[in-house]
């Protein structure tokens, strides 16, 4: 995973839970089918409008609910570049790091507007808003996770640790 990401913003509110991101009724289908229904409960156009590299910006508690990694799988299928939120639900945050989906939290995402062109430095937690010409500081990645993120997630990290790469 690249840890510097640039893309345009789609804005969402608080508590975007895993049933919204990855509805249970489609979870047994192939990921490309599941991805068609991602976020549809609150944004029916989501799967049609997002483009690779786009950044999702949300409020508090992004990814609450289930431990389902299908939530990350569908967002990765759409090649979402990063998620910026005021806060993340714990399991979602871990899973995102593990699968190499960039996530960064910052105090107040309300200053970011839909359509803004943003750049995120995941390791430094630095967030640049090119549209508004502003810069924000997000939370820096915990030190013990930097290597995992640099390698692209838990699987490559384990491959190195277990000497399979």
């Amino acid at each position: 995973m690249s840890y510097k990401i640039r893309g345009r913003v789609w804005k969402y509110g608080d508590n975007i839970n895993t049933d919204i991101i990855s509805p249970g009724q489609y979870m047994s289908q192939p990921v490309e089918k599941q991805a068609e229904h991602a976020m549809e409960a609150i944004d029916p156009e989501f799967s049609k409008k997002v483009r690779p590299g786009d950044i999702l910006v949300a409020g508090h508690n992004f990814g609450s609910g289930s431990s389902r990694e299908t939530a990350q799988m569908v967002l990765k299928h759409h090649e979402i570049g990063a998620i910026i939120a005021n806060s993340f639900a714990r399991i979602f945050y871990r899973n995102s790091i593990n699968v190499g989906l960039p996530v960064v939290d910052m105090k107040d995402t309300s200053v970011i507007l839909e359509g803004d062109e943003m750049e995120v430095d995941l390791l430094e937690g630095k967030i640049i808003n090119h549209t508004q010409g502003t810069e924000y500081q997000g939370t820096k990645l915990p030190e013990h996770l930097i290597e995992m993120v640099q390698l692209g997630g838990l699987e490559p990290y384990l491959a190195k640790k277990l000497k399979f790469s």
Binding site: G24, S67, A159
Partner: protein, 424 residues
């Protein structure tokens, strides 16, 4: 400074004598649990690429419960994949069609006080009702656990929630946990443990304690713990478990992030309204809301004591016309117990449909999902938009008693009017 239960269990799992909240430690899992939908089917590729050798097959438990019975060919394929995987790995503990994984691992003695249990499901925290530190992880993280037996964890702070006093008639553990989640908020315990204690908690049965720990994640918590005592030990003995019964408790001078204190005797029946579990109101605020379906079951509230109270309310009565009442015991064992006690007959005569134990409609997978515009009153644990089917449906959560009373009237109903005074 003393240690909390979480600190003690994680210290042991990390091989340290002492850890404190905020420490990041590598811990060894006592049990790695997967279910069909988020288990072998998703992890097999990565697992094989990394050598495909289990750290200890005695500690790996697989439960097929989400795709049972399969409603589609895809679900049947996932179920078959899971079954074949368990056989090919030579797993001694594979269960299918027995009920939701959280109940199955409790009944089969995999959960014991002080153990560290990691599972690919957010409600894995239910095992905390027996004093195990149990938490949900993702499928990729599970690959690492399966290969090495380890993962990293940040030792959580603890919110202590004390419920003293005696629960009034018609009020249950479900009402305790809904009220607690309302106050903490659905993200209020993120990265933290919720430890339930107090005289009201101590007097709860094993069945009811599991309701509290099951729903800890609905406040964002990493796990929900209850200090194991003779109730837990007796329960485990009844399941044939004789070893690993040492208890673990927080020290008197342990440090807490927050302490909440409640008087259980003042509690009324509670209902979580759409579409968040912390959108909780006393049942009087939503009484009369018409429903299309009621759902009595799940790993949260499908145990024998739940079915007993529903039978007490529904005995000799009929459910309302034009609604469905689905009953889903939390395990085959409970199904058989309910059958022996005549409960299934009472419920069926009242017009309920008894389904097999499964995650089924609770997660919107099989057997009773709802359509657009439909309203459910459910004893399960989550009411997110789209959770039980259509994103245009509505899910209300309450106790099994409230669910049963609602079935009679076809609208949300306070269960106390149907319960004999003094009976709990």
């Amino acid at each position: 400074m003393g240690m909390t239960m979480s600190e003690k269990i994680l210290a042991k799992a990390a091989g340290h004598s002492n850890v404190k909240a905020g420490d990041i430690v590598w811990v060894k899992a006592d049990i790695a649990m997967m279910h069909d939908l988020l288990g072998p089917w998703l992890i097999d590729g990565g697992f094989r690429r990394l050598g495909g050798k289990l750290f200890d097959k005695e500690k790996v438990v697989v439960v097929s419960d989400h795709c049972t019975p399969p409603a589609t060919v895809q679900q049947a394929d996932i179920l078959k994949f899971t079954r074949d995987w368990a056989r090919d790995q030579g797993l001694p503990y594979y269960y299918e069609f027995e009920g939701p994984c959280h109940q199955v691992i409790v009944e089969h003695g995999h959960v014991r006080p002080g153990r560290l249990i990691l599972g690919t499901d957010s409600h894995t925290c239910m095992a905390g009702g027996l004093g195990a530190f149990a938490t949900g992880i993702g499928s990729t993280e599970m690959i690492g656990v399966l290969l090495t037996g380890e993962t990293w964890m940040k030792v959580p702070e603890t919110i202590k929630v004390i419920w003293d006093g005696e629960l009034p008639h018609g009020v249950y553990a479900k009402d305790i946990v809904l009220k607690t989640i309302k106050d903490i908020g659905h993200a209020g315990a993120t990265y933290q443990t919720i430890e339930f204690s107090g005289s009201a908690i101590k007097s709860l049965s094993m069945d009811e304690r599991l309701v509290l720990s099951n729903m800890a994640v609905e406040a964002g918590a990493k796990t929900g713990l209850i200090e194991p005592d003779e109730t837990v030990i007796e329960f485990l003995r009844s399941k044939g478990v004789d070893d690993g019964l040492e208890t673990v408790r927080s020290d008197e001078d342990a440090s807490y992030a927050q302490i909440l204190h409640y008087n259980a005797s003042e509690l009324e029946p509670q209902v979580a309204c759409p579409h968040e579990v912390d959108n909780v109101h006393p049942i009087s605020a939503v009484e009369g809301k018409a429903v299309d379906q009621v759902y009595l079951g799940s790993c949260t509230n499908g145990r024998i004591s739940d079915l007993r109270v529903a039978a007490e309310i529904l005995k000799g009565k009929k459910i309302a016309k034009n609604i469905r009442c689905l009953v889903v015991p939390a395990s085959q064992h409970i199904w058989m117990e309910a059958n022996k006690e005549g409960i299934l007959e009472i419920l069926t005569e009242a017009g309920c449909i008894v389904n097999m134990p499964s995650c089924g409609a609770c997660g919107g997978f099989t057997s009773g999902v709802i359509g657009a515009g439909e309203v459910v009153m459910s004893s399960s644990n989550r009411n997110f938009r789209g959770r039980m089917g259509s994103s245009e449906g509505e899910v209300y959560l309450g106790s099994p008693a409230a669910v049963a009373a609602t079935a009679i009237e076809g609208k949300i109903t306070d269960p106390r009017k149907y319960l004999l005074q003094g009976v709990r």
